[in-house]
Symmetry: D2
Subunit: 295 residues, 4 copies
């Protein structure tokens, strides 16, 4: 006998969330997909594609077996989970809550504790990958928390991502995500410095990109972001302010664990500078602009 299809919810329809929710919807694997966003008008496209819309996070959770959340930062994740009419208000025994936002461990633990206190099941599931992998269902999902819930949501993870990892108790995925994004932020900083130095040294940036693409450092990120940097146009796939937030959180983790991270610390200052220049909502490749100093 086939298992009954799940009713799933999705909270937060930003760049990433909308694409992820759409993949759940399009898969046909779920009995229903109910969405919510703080600005409710952002729900319209998905509604027209067949999603249900609820007025509050609590209403989504109450209507679904499992609810996924993809929110901008720890404060928003906390507010959506724990605020008035927040997700936890809708939790009852057995319901699952999967927070895929990139948040710090304290935040994740706090939400997890509130969910389990009401008999719910909690999984943190931050992802690696930005806009395009989200659209293509090619995210990499780092999960930690309730192992049974991890197994239950495999079909959902399967349409949102190309691979999911179970990393242990709640908090492990938050930490892994920070480590991955810290490496990414520093690596982009390294790349932008190379692009800037090439340019000032009278070398073609396109030659640098070609040479990097042929060697041991060849990677999709340089190939994707290189042309954006050449054009100095940064439509947001992963907003710079979120990259900076992740560096900040990773540095705080290193601080708590006494791990010196001088490269990441230097990179973080570059992102802060770009943010101060008004580029927080641009793609994180806009950190290139921090290398451009002419008066």
């Amino acid at each position: 006998m086939a298992e009954a299809k799940l009713n799933v919810g999705f909270l937060g329809l930003g760049i990433m969330g909308e694409a992820m929710a759409r993949n759940l919807l399009k898969s046909g694997l779920f009995a229903s997909v109910t969405v919510w966003n703080r600005t409710l008008s952002k729900c319209e496209p998905l509604k027209s594609e067949g999603a249900k819309v609820a007025d509050t996070p609590a209403a989504v959770v109450a209507a679904c077996d499992v609810t996924f959340a993809m929110l901008a930062d720890p404060d928003t994740a906390l507010a959506v989970a724990l605020g008035d009419n927040g997700a936890v208000a809708g939790i009852s025994a057995g319901k699952g809550y999967v927070d895929m936002s990139t948040v710090d461990e304290a935040c994740s633990s706090k939400i997890g504790a509130a969910v389990t206190a009401k008999g719910g099941r909690f999984l943190e599931g931050p992802v690696s990958g930005s806009k395009k992998p989200a659209i293509d269902g090619q995210l990499v999902i780092m999960a930690a928390g309730d192992k049974e819930l991890f197994d239950l949501v495999q079909p959902a993870f399967g349409v949102m991502g190309k691979r999911s990892f179970y990393l242990g108790a709640t908090g492990a995925a938050a930490r892994m995500k920070l480590v991955v994004n810290m490496v990414m932020g520093s690596m982009m900083g390294a790349f932008c410095e190379g692009m800037a130095l090439a340019d000032k040294a009278g070398l073609e940036q396109s030659a640098l990109l070609e040479i990097l693409g042929l060697g041991a450092m060849a990677n999709p990120m340089f190939a994707l972001k290189g042309p954006a940097i050449q054009a100095r146009a940064y439509p947001p796939a992963f907003p710079l302010k979120h990259q900076q937030k992740d560096l900040r959180l990773a540095l705080a983790l290193g601080d708590a664990l006494d791990v010196p991270l001088p490269v990441a610390a230097a990179a973080n200052e570059c992102y802060k500078e770009a943010k101060a220049k008004g580029l927080g909502d641009s793609d994180f490749a806009a950190v290139y602009e921090s290398t451009q100093k002419k008066a």
Copy 2:
């Protein structure tokens, strides 16, 4: 009518040079391959494989149409080219000298000027790639200087590398190589900080490697060096002291051009620390050890 085969020379049989000279020899494309190394005993393996051996750089150049050099640092490159019985002493009209060492522009220009002053032709040709690509003939060659010489040595570049670029007047390749290696040094620094933070945060380094390998940052260098870092064993493919030298030279270039490079500057200090710990002759992945501080 077929062109006559060239007599080629090779100066400097270190980790890279020996492999490159062997590929010239094995190709069968050259009338002869004559080698020289400061410690002459290092010429023995190639001699037994068919290479000629000469006593001095001057003698190699005198005996060959084109001579390649692959030396450890600017001082050595200058000494081999300009010292007593150095390469330039063997230059006469029409002979080619291709210095593939990673050196700064001033050094390259000085050697190039000395070669052309005696009627010779000069090309700088630093490479991207270390031990394994050198063995496999898969280096990426960045060349600048005499364009006719570049065309003439295409067969040699073809067996040593998978791709060669002509970048302009002498100095351009030196600068490009520095930019590439600066990116590499910072990127390895970023990677090592990630591996260290994962470990201290109770995460499996192998999971981090797998996750990085699935995302936009996936690259051969992380895949190759990750296990070395896990094992904390660093047999030298690209010695750490050379990586640090390249960061130093790139920072000096940025300094001359007023390009702030805070990420590379921070990474450079990590390599200096690893060097101070006695790891200068280890692989540059040993910069990981600079993240390990316990008393």
Copy 3:
């Protein structure tokens, strides 16, 4: 008619707190001085000099007109103020609470709000200066919050410090203290790098100290800490872990305000390294050890 003398309390008898409480006691300006410390045995010396001892922070506050607190870090400050039998439990209308710990603004604001919610008056009053100025009553006090309370405690500030500043609403003093300590942490980092480079460059550290002492950079901190660094002995006046905490909090403030602080970020990593080497409880001049890398 003379004003009645105040009954004052003091919470936290660490290196700084004990000296400050003793100065209150010795002044004879107060009707009584009641002290508390988590490890109660630390109250004995002051008790023998005439202080009263109470069992809990709440009991101190209940017994006094104004209570001062000098605690190690934000968590401790929060626990002592807001925990079971904490200071706030003893607050009633009109009582004053002056928290002189170095804490972040959020912490200070939280404590202030709790105090005023019960009708009390709150002042934050972090200090500049460590062990010796504390003993000599020569601290510099940065105060913010309730202006009337600031005026009321002038006699107490006068025996603990040589100067007190009223900086505005609660939070302003916390921020000023962080700025001051951030400058101090970076400046000590700069000094230690100079001492290390002098030593490695074959110069006498004593000559460097003398030369610095004659120029525009001459300052008491270099004069005081120089000999400690020469001796590589670091009896704690200001524990390194607290200096690192302040750098961390200052960087977080800069992060929130989009102020790039690359020098402080680099210095912070040095303190983290020294902490990882087990020097957290040594004087902050022990950051010199982070420059000593030999295997």
Copy 4:
């Protein structure tokens, strides 16, 4: 019997040099003072005060017992000493040459070797202190090289400086000067970050200056440069490009000696950024502008 008065020369009449030469002239301790500057018109004020003027460095040296030089950077120092009609061309047995420019050790050694090769005596004598101490004869002079020449020029050092140190063989003073200026550059960077953070955090910069002036960090440099930073006006006492050059040279020294200097490396990037913004000829306090990022 009184010793005969010396005929002294002075090469380089920049901000510092003119003031130093004037002090020699005004002292009345010397039989004559002969000056030279690349732009000869800059000699006019001193000429009107009684100095002789010569057309070339060689002519100055030929006319004097001891010649002092105060030049902008190593290239200028080398050109003035070793170029056509340079100082060394005027050296004969027994003549003294005292180079007070801030140069690296290699530069100093090269000039010293050329002087002694012609039978002359050489002393390097870089100074600590900028415009005002130069005017007031309050420089601190770090000397190394010929000890007899050091003793001979004590009267001259006595009118230019408040204290002179003999530090050992040629090169020691160059290294000491770099160490001192490295500390100064980092310390100014630390100070500017504090001023910037105070401002963004809603605090009065004047309060910060007052608080710093009361504590262990109190020093003349903060007191002097603080108001300049508040006014964001930077008339050059010590040009920023020279401070950046000294950081660069100090980092190169640390690089050669395997001394990690992450704080100085971060500070150097700030000066480079200020230089890129066109502030190279402003006072080094203009590094404050590198903290101001608004688009």
